[in-house]
């Protein structure tokens, strides 16, 4: 993590943000501060209000209430908005660029909107699309299309980059390629705000994340802090063959050595544990004593997804 010098004002500040669509409240009083130079992730299931929030910050959707400052400027529809736009890079979740324009032509088109645009060559090099420069947008793979979208966002050398689910639907290799592009942009002291529902992406790229649900921030911190808040590094999940009611087991499970929290959802029991080599033998002997047979048992390192489950009782990706 690069610590921003204290003199730099925050890149984004918003307080009490509210946005309603008819009866649906998409954003319900959101507070957020993104420091200059950090990579900040908005994490949450679909429908949590991530896209609405980011589009309000981008000045594309007006908020119903609340204060928004982006690079110390409040969107007001005036001439100053254009000057601010020159300093922002934006990739929207669903943009289809013109089908029959080549990579090169598309970048040149976007470059024409900015007085300080970088050359087509240098953007192509950053997103590694040099070989595809003459290919039409319609002929690109999903990953290449997404890198072109990011190239269009980077063409003006922005100070602040907004990415709305930049890697959704991409294969792992394309995803890593994009991560490299984003990391490279950050390393020059720039700020990134991204939304994602991939935990790995947030843990890998973000200095801090805000976990969103129902239009609110329900947890905020560095990925490490949030995971640490679970009180354990490991998660053990198991199901029982006889499908007995597990409620009666909960006190005993909680009493096992090294176990933090216990949670049962749809017959699956999840424990957090500090040390697997202590907890697992104790768990199996407990189940044996009580005459239960395991149907399945898995363990994994605690992730942001487990943080979301711990707070809401739901999984992010299931939604």
């Amino acid at each position: 993590m690069t610590a921003a010098p204290p003199s730099r004002p925050p890149a984004i500040r918003c307080e009490g943000l509210v946005k309603r669509y008819g009866d649906v409240t998409a954003v319900a009083g959101l507070d957020l501060t993104v420091a200059a130079g950090e990579c900040f992730g908005l994490l949450g299931p679909n429908g949590a209000g991530k896209t609405t929030t980011i589009e309000i910050l981008e000045g594309l959707t007006p908020a119903d209430a609340g204060l928004v400052q982006v690079l110390e400027h409040a969107w007001n529809g005036g001439a100053a908005d254009r000057l601010l736009r020159e300093r922002l890079g934006i990739q929207l979740q669903e943009t289809k660029l013109p089908e029959k324009l080549s990579v090169e032509e598309t970048i040149r088109l976007f470059a024409s909107f900015y007085p300080q645009a970088q050359t087509v060559e240098s953007v192509l090099a950053v997103v590694e699309l040099g070989e595809k420069r003459r290919a039409w947008y319609s002929k690109l793979s999903g990953g290449q299309k997404q890198r072109l979208a990011v190239a269009c966002a980077l063409v003006n050398r922005p100070e602040l980059l907004f990415l709305d689910e930049p890697t959704t639907g991409l294969d792992p290799q394309s995803r890593r390629q994009l991560w490299d592009v984003i990391a490279g942009f950050r390393s020059q002291g720039n700020t990134v705000l991204l939304t994602t529902h991939y935990m790995e992406e947030a843990e890998r790229l973000c200095d801090r994340v805000a976990i969103m649900d129902h239009g609110k921030v329900i947890a905020l911190g560095t990925p490490r802090e949030l995971i640490a808040s679970l009180g354990a590094e490991h998660v053990v999940e198991f199901t029982l063959a006889d499908g007995v009611a597990v409620a009666s087991l909960e006190p005993q499970l909680r009493g096992l050595p090294g176990v933090g929290t216990v949670r049962a959802t749809d017959g699956t029991i999840a424990l957090t544990a500090t040390a697997l080599h202590i907890t697992l033998p104790a768990l199996t002997s407990l189940l044996e004593q009580r005459g239960h047979v395991l149907a399945s048992l898995t363990t994994h390192h605690a992730s942001l997804d487990d943080v979301f489950v711990a707070i809401t009782g739901r999984r992010i990706r299931d939604e």
């Binding site: 254009r82 736009r85 929207l92 943009t95 032509e105 470059a111 024409s112 645009a117």
Partner: protein, 343 residues
């Protein structure tokens, strides 16, 4: 210069258009095919020969020979069944029944048949020894641009400018809106006015190609000339093209789907296809409709194009029509800018 947003956006629309093969056909191929087909179908038959028949009977071949010697007539001897069929289907304009008296059988409601009646009678009477009393002399006049094809080509040009202006602009605006491209552009410092203007400007290049294709084709195949100056023709077409781009922008200003904009386009164009005198003169519509018909932009454009191409009118001569064209374009563009749906 080439890094100006207006230039780059214009180029983007032009590229998007010419990289779509169907679009090329509808803009360039279709009007030429139409001009060719209609030009052939309505080709003037010059002095033209009218076919007449002589029923088999006494002196039939002598009569047929006399008639055939007349430049305007082509005659043949027919038996009664064939003669009846050919007369009914219009293959022959008139049937001569030899005898005394000679009988002319023809449909008196057909202009061609009545002409044939005069020619046949004239030829037979002279052959029978009639002499003309007054001395006459024919002085044939060929009015330039009086053929149907001369009338048709400026109309097709106007219709084509309308179609390509409306489709070219309307389609790509709505596509940009439905695909989120418009929103993406709004996230840049692009000026909205330049965005809208880029569509109007992109029409210019196509305009040049359309005009060259259709006017060139008409000159080469049908010998349709431009009697006014090329400058006047150029200004008429530029104004027409800008005007229909403005109308296209208005039609597309609110539509959210391709289906919706297609419906609107047809709604706008259909009355003009029928009323604006592309294929036949709008003078055929009743007097009460004339003010409405004349106020349509395509009518005004067709009038100015015909003025320049057929009558060799100067720009001043077609200024009134051009004024209507310009007002349509300017008003539609301004309204479109006001009510345009950006999200």
């Amino acid at each position: 210069m080439s890094n100006r947003p207006l230039v780059q956006m214009t180029l983007a629309w032009i590229r998007g258009f010419y990289r779509e093969p169907e679009a090329i056909f509808w803009v360039f191929g279709f009007p030429i095919v139409l001009a060719f087909a209609l030009g052939i179908a309505f080709k003037n038959r010059g002095p033209g020969e009218m076919r007449v028949g002589v029923l088999r009977g006494a002196e039939d071949s002598a009569i047929a020979r006399t008639l055939d010697a007349t430049p305007a007539l082509a005659a043949g001897v027919l038996d009664s069944a064939t003669a009846r069929t050919q007369l009914r289907t219009g293959r022959i304009a008139l049937l001569v029944l030899p005898g005394s008296p000679i009988v002319y059988r023809y449909d008196s409601t057909r202009t061609e048949s009545r002409l044939a009646r005069l020619e046949v009678d004239d030829a037979l009477q002279r052959a029978g020894g009639r002499t003309d009393i007054a001395v006459v002399h024919d002085d044939r006049v060929t009015e330039p641009g009086s053929r149907y094809i001369d009338f048709l080509i400026p109309g097709l040009l106007g219709m084509n400018l309308m179609g390509s202006g409306l489709w070219g602009v309307g389609f790509s605006v709505v596509q940009a809106r439905t695909k989120g491209l418009l929103k993406r552009f709004l996230a840049t410092p692009m000026r909205k006015s330049e965005y809208l203007l880029s569509y109007v400007v992109s029409r210019l290049l196509f305009l040049v190609l359309e005009v060259i294709a259709l006017v060139g084709f008409a000159y080469w195949v049908f010998d349709v000339g431009v009697h006014g100056t090329m400058m006047a023709l150029g200004i008429c077409t530029i104004l027409g093209s800008f005007s229909f781009a403005g109308i296209g922008l208005l039609v597309a200003s609110r539509a959210k789907t391709i289906e919706a904009v297609s419906g609107l386009m047809n709604l706008v164009m259909l009355p003009m296809w029928i009323l604006s005198g592309t294929f036949f003169s709008y003078a055929r519509f009743p007097e009460s409709m004339q003010p409405f018909v004349r106020a349509l932009p395509l009518t005004a454009l067709n009038d100015s194009l015909r003025g320049v191409m057929i009558d060799g009118a100067s720009l001043a001569g077609v200024a009134a029509s051009l004024g209507i064209v310009a007002v349509w374009g300017a008003v539609c563009f301004l309204v479109a800018v006001k009510i345009f749906r950006w999200r």
